[in-house]
């Protein structure tokens, strides 16, 4: 029941690599990280979900909240995810229509709207 976070910059994008479980207990940590990045002026975020074992609705709420924040600065929030389990959650809740989902970080970095 832990969450790991690390951030790095690739070109003008900020990649947040998330590992572990995003649930009711750990989601606040991810929220803080996203809020901090936006406050520091990073508006083009890529959240790499490849290391995520579990994501619940609280975690989804945090991602949606992050998206609203970057959009307020005309930014973007892209996800990198290939795991069927996680993708299913995005599909069921309709978030595939909200977040651009990529198969690799490189693809997400290269993507433009």
């Amino acid at each position: 029941m832990d969450l790991s976070l690390s951030t790095r910059t690739v070109d003008d994008r900020t990649v947040v690599e998330v590992g572990g479980e995003i649930d009711v207990y750990t989601a606040p940590k991810l929220r803080e990280q996203l809020v901090e990045l936006v406050n520091e002026g990073h508006y083009h975020l890529i959240v790499d979900m490849e290391g995520v074992d579990f994501l619940d609705s609280t975690g989804l709420g945090v991602l949606v909240g992050g998206l609203k924040r970057v959009r307020a600065h005309e930014g973007s929030l892209r996800l990198v995810c290939n795991q069927e389990r996680i993708l299913k959650i995005f599909r069921i809740t309709g978030l595939t229509k909200v977040f651009p989902i990529h198969t690799t970080v490189d693809e997400a970095v290269a993507a433009t709207d």
Partner: protein, 419 residues
């Protein structure tokens, strides 16, 4: 004061000790003794007197001495609030009740015992009325009385604070149960031809009230409508939004709304009422047609459901639209019509039921695991089926302290007519 002192263990112990000639024994420290005392007194002679009284009382607390209220504030800031504060009512910078109220304002958690002059009993009583724990009359002081007053003041203050904390807990529990009642209503059915079995199980983290909700109503045409929903996140704001959505759903359904229109209306309510933009809600709304052969399903970002027919259970997940609040004004929710076999039951639930941990690692029960549990319980009567499903899911998560999230589960179906 007299009646307040009843029930204190110290006097009896002391009396026994004196009778048996082992006064020293009564002077040993009590487990509840304050470890630090602050004396606020400008007269060095009186301060010395208090120091001696303390030494003879058997309380082994460290005594700090402040000569004025300003001095006392500085000591409090440096050392924190001690177990008991002894306050003289004639200070260079504060007098009488004013000294008591100022000191209590500076140290709200403190147990204050006031020191008064011989002819000042009235001001001692007034100080107690203003929030001091007790008063001692200078000139009538002796070690046992002093020790008892200090110990009792410190003890009673602790009890007061514990009672206040308990009251806060109680108010929160009442608030939670009020919200729960709002989230979990009594089904509004016209006849007894339809069976509803519903359960709500709060999550392990009790303080985290979730926004799971359900409702069942029957409209005039005999259609039975049901909903299960889940507001993302946990807390009073989420729970209140859950109540709001449930009542909105009930109102719109009774007013004849259905399908995508119903979802659009609910989303409008959610967007208008929500506390933060990140809040969204998932729900599944069902309509059991009066001919008992079909059920219409509208799914908004919510997980699938379990269909029970005879001794078998299937996972049913008809096409749906996004969760409410994600794409305000842009989304569409398809309404699917499914055949309802005779005797079929549908179980709607929130994700807390299958998101619990299982085993030792990071495994979760998952949809597949839940279906397996449901199949094991398939032959049971509806209420037993529902209870078994929850207790099995709970048992699977036992190694991780039980299910963390709230669970709402509703089993719905027409009753079998006397066949």
């Amino acid at each position: 004061m007299a009646e307040a002192l009843e029930g204190v263990p110290a006097p009896r112990r002391n009396a026994d000790a004196v009778l048996s000639g082992t006064l020293e024994a009564s002077r040993s420290a009590w487990p509840g003794d304050p470890v630090a005392l602050l004396l606020v007194e400008d007269d060095p002679g009186d301060a010395l007197l208090v120091e001696e009284l303390l030494a003879d009382s058997g309380i082994s607390a460290a005594l700090s001495w402040a000569r004025s209220l300003a001095d006392a504030r500085r000591v409090l800031a440096e050392q924190g609030v001690p177990g008991c504060i002894l306050l003289d009512l004639h200070l260079p910078d504060a007098h009488g009740l004013d000294a008591v109220t100022q000191l209590l304002a500076a140290a709200p958690g403190a147990a204050v015992v006031v020191l008064t002059g011989l002819a000042e009993e009235a001001s001692g009583l007034a100080a107690v009325a203003a929030g001091a724990q007790d008063y001692l009359v200078k000139g009538q002081l002796e070690p046992q009385l002093f020790g008892r007053a200090v110990r009792y003041a410190a003890q009673r203050k602790q009890v007061e604070q514990a009672a206040a904390a308990l009251q806060v807990e109680r108010v929160r529990a009442q608030e939670n149960s009020r919200l729960e009642r709002g989230l979990l209503p009594v089904p509004l059915l016209r006849g007894d031809g339809f069976e509803v079995v519903s359960r709500y199980r709060p999550g392990r983290a009790q303080a985290l009230l979730g926004g799971d909700f359900y409702d069942v109503v029957e409209t005039a045409d005999g259609t039975v409508h049901a909903v299960v929903g889940d507001v993302s996140g946990h807390g009073p704001a989420e729970a209140a939004l859950g109540v709001c959505l449930r009542v909105a759903w009930r109102s719109f359904v009774l007013a004849g709304s259905s399908g995508s229109t119903l979802m659009e209306l609910l989303e409008q309510i959610l967007v208008a009422e929500r506390d933060g933009e990140q809040l969204f809600a998932t729900l599944t709304s069902l309509s059991f047609t009066p001919d008992r052969r079909r059920v219409r399903v509208v799914r908004a970002g919510h997980p699938g459901m379990l269909q029970r027919v005879g001794g078998d259970v299937e996972w049913v997940e008809p096409p749906g639209g996004p969760a409410l609040g994600l794409l305000p004004g842009l989304a569409h929710w398809p309404q699917e019509e499914l055949p309802l076999p005779p005797g079929a039951g549908l179980a709607l639930f929130t994700d807390g039921l299958f998101e619990g941990h299982t085993g030792r690692g990071r495994e979760r029960l998952g949809e597949r695991g839940l279906l397996a549990l449901a199949r094991k319980a398939a032959g049971l009567a509806s209420d037993l089926f529902v209870d078994t499903l929850i207790s099995d899911a709970e048992a699977a998560a036992a190694g991780h302290g039980g299910l963390a999230d709230d669970v709402a589960l509703v089993h719905l179906g027409w009753k079998q007519t006397d066949s």
